[in-house]
Symmetry: C2
Amino acid sequence: MSDYYLEDFSVGQRFVTDAHHLTEADIKRFASEFDPQPFHLDDNAAKDSLFGGLAASGWHTAALTMKLMVEGPFKPVGGLIGAGVEEIRWVKPVRPGDQLTVTTEVIDIRRSRSNPQRGILKIRTTTLNQHGDTVQEFVGNMVAQSRNE
Amino acid sequence: MSDYYLEDFSVGQRFVTDAHHLTEADIKRFASEFDPQPFHLDDNAAKDSLFGGLAASGWHTAALTMKLMVEGPFKPVGGLIGAGVEEIRWVKPVRPGDQLTVTTEVIDIRRSRSNPQRGILKIRTTTLNQHGDTVQEFVGNMVAQSRNE
């Protein structure tokens, strides 16, 4: 399947990625650079926190969700270009050893009035762990190019 | 100033971080791991893209915003624990060499009804470059602990 133009998308389409395995070292490395808080860095401190044990930064989960999407089957022509986030909820902690997959669903499609060569796809992505539990829900808008430009 | 309990926050409070200098190597390293698209990895490909030149992944900007906040003066007791994102807008591209700072403003405070030892702070964070241009706007909710627990 080649990349999708605006006209190739339809509301209700779903795209599922491969899995990504996250290690404890990955969690601590990301956190030390971007979210250096004890519950993302230190097992003992994490036990006494709201997370009840070492947990990935939500921003790490968000970044991995993007990685899985870029490598996955949801491929607008021109790439995955975000036009804004409407919601992110971190529903459950992401733990060392988790295997994450991402499901993307197209929930709305609008052609731009000011620039009809483009449109905006509203998508919902759900990031799941190996138990099928949702760890992150995301709603956002992506740029899509029209075939008729 | 020690860390802030729920009762120490007030609507309109503002907290400003130090600056973080972002290199081209940083942009490419983050992108290669989390957002491997040509406009975040390759100067020539980026020139022909919507970004008009190499630009950081929005998720990189979001992660750096978190880093600056964790190291900055906005310090709820118990740490910076996100209770959900209501909006992220990437207003302008982040370029190699940019110096980013983050301003956090408390825009709403609610005590939890189900758990009055906690509350939720709604914050707006604005990430600026060295020219004073906004590159990212974020609205989200953070957990805050009450002094009276």
